[in-house]
């Protein structure tokens, strides 16, 4: 397990527990008691720390390398997953994965950013930063889902669209714009879940949805705290201030009306108990999908468009 800087006291206790566990071969009863005592302390500390994470700490949790990613969710929630590759114009972008499958028995199209889990896969998926081909694939799959009356589930987890020469040459801006347009044009339900980082245009490209769910410690923002600090504060030391000012936490975004529902995370964040997190997101998706499915396609589309037009009318309330 990787520990974040503010989790240091927790990490130290966990290390102590681990040490005691190795000793407990010598079957002394008071070691077990000591382990229990420390475990309670760890839980209390985790609860206290995670109850009042600052926006910058949440940013670190949202980017945690052990946080469950797209492929983890798909492996546990989607049966018969059949990935579909390519934008039919230039190439396939592994930073966005998409495909057909079954969610709780129902056919779905699943699309999302994949960041990768080790050096090799991170490089292969370009750390979840998509090129135009990724967004064009997303659009193609959304249009296909629309034709077959299959709902679309998206999982958002990206620092942002890839800022490279090749991406610009092939029309990154246009690809994102068309992908947003495709989301807003669907006559089937589209449900987006922000599972980690929701980085700017690269995120909303697949998140202009009927229902936007967001994990408790995820972030969603127009710019990264680092980028904002370097532009507005003109230094890199104000990252924490920028994270604060941007209101990028699920709690603030819910108040602003930019997301629809917050999905709680297990004690210590999604990375402390990935399976519990994946299962609980599954419940939230199922409930919201059940609500959207009976609606007429035209009504869904009109309602989605009106929803976005109405966002932001009330400020932080």
């Amino acid at each position: 397990m990787n520990f974040l800087d503010f989790e240091k006291p927790i990490a130290e206790l966990e290390a102590k527990i681990e040490e005691l566990r190795h000793l407990s071969n010598s079957d002394q009863i008071n070691i077990a008691e000591e382990i229990n005592r420390l475990q309670t302390k760890v839980d209390r500390l985790l609860r206290a720390t995670y109850a009042k994470l600052t926006p910058w700490q949440k940013t670190q949790v949202a980017r945690h390398p052990d946080r469950p990613h797209f492929s983890d969710y798909v492996a546990r929630l989607i049966a018969e997953f059949t990935p579909l590759a390519g934008d039919r114009a230039f190439g396939d972008d592994p930073a966005i994965i998409g495909g057909l499958g079954r969610f709780r028995g129902r056919s779905v199209m699943v699309i999302g950013h994949e960041k990768g889990h080790d050096t090799d896969s991170r490089v292969r998926h370009n750390f979840g930063m998509a090129r135009p081909e990724g967004y064009r694939k997303a659009r193609r799959l959304m249009e296909m889902a629309d034709r077959f009356g299959i709902p679309v589930l998206t999982l958002v987890d990206t620092a942002g669209a890839y800022p490279g020469v090749d991406a610009e040459a092939r029309g990154q801006a246009e690809a994102i714009a068309r992908s947003i347009e495709a989301c807003l044009d669907l006559r089937v339900p589209i449900l987006a879940s922000i599972i980690g980082e929701g980085g700017s245009g690269g995120a909303i490209a697949i998140a202009a949805a009927d229902c936007v769910l967001m994990l408790e410690h995820s972030i969603y923002s127009v710019i990264s705290p680092e980028g904002c600090a370097s532009i507005l504060w003109r230094n890199g030391d104000s990252t924490k201030d920028a994270a604060e000012a941007l209101r990028l936490t699920a709690q603030d975004l819910h108040k602003l009306g930019a997301i629809d529902e917050i999905v709680p995370e297990p004690l210590g964040g999604a990375h402390h108990n990935p399976t519990a997190q994946i299962d609980s997101l599954g419940e939230y998706i199922e409930r919201n999908l059940a609500e959207l499915l009976p609606r007429d396609g035209g009504v869904l589309r009109a309602r989605r468009r009106e929803k976005f037009l109405a966002i932001g009318k009330n400020g932080l309330g």
Partner: protein, 304 residues
Amino acid sequence: MSWLTNFVRPKIQSLVRPREVPENLWDKCPQCGNMIYRRDLEKSLYVCPHCGHHLRLPAKNRLAMLFDEGKHQRIELPKTPVDPLRFRDSKRYTDRLKEAQAKSGEQDALIVAHGRIGGVAAVVAVFDFDFMGGSMGMAVGDGLIAAAELAVLQEAALIVVPASGGARMQEGVLSLMQLARTTVAVDKVKERRLPYVVLLTDPTTGGVSASFAMLGDIHIAEPGAQIGFAGTRVIETTIREKLPDGFQRAEYLLEHGMVDMVVPRAQLRDTLARILGILRHRGPAGEVLSLVPQTGAADAEPGH
């Protein structure tokens, strides 16, 4: 509200104010470095007479230039909640807004007007780059929605002229939401089969390029305009790649298939008028569509 009070009078006032005379009489071309007499610059639509470089054209001059005889009517834009996030960096966002408003005399970075272009009814929404870099927040989004709704109401063409660094950071995720909101807005116009033309000017980047600005029926770019998603500095620092010559310039986008044409400012109005005319005035239906031979025409035809 007219061209006279909005544009001519302040211009005259700025010219007669003695303290500012030295700065206002001459401008330096950022491209070739030559000095340009201000009145020449205005006559040439802010195109450098020495090298042809297209300087940024103030929003009001843009409106005057696009409409028939410069005649147009500004529309009042909806009031928008100010500073929804209570954002503050080294300065309060509300203070930055007030400064920009005082400097420009406008409420925000978008101006909307309607009138005729080549006789065709048109609604034009122009970004004011001088207003916080033309950045797009709630007010700009609302302005574009109002412009699109007016175009639908008047069965007019919608022309948008972006000049923007992208989304307005000080409005956080709400500025990001404008990507979806403005997409819905321009789609309303397109659904009604009314022309939606984007006139891409320097610069069109970030969230503005990644939404309505790349969704036009026709994309016309001004020569040399920077158009792209990521800023050049961001690309250079994060990727450590050397950027090719002319990268993200209008001509580069033309070469890469992202715009229909690059048109010098002097020919812009006529080009736009021609396109709108062809799209909107499709000629007498009988002459174009009739497949039935006209009486007498067959007899006159020899040899059949």
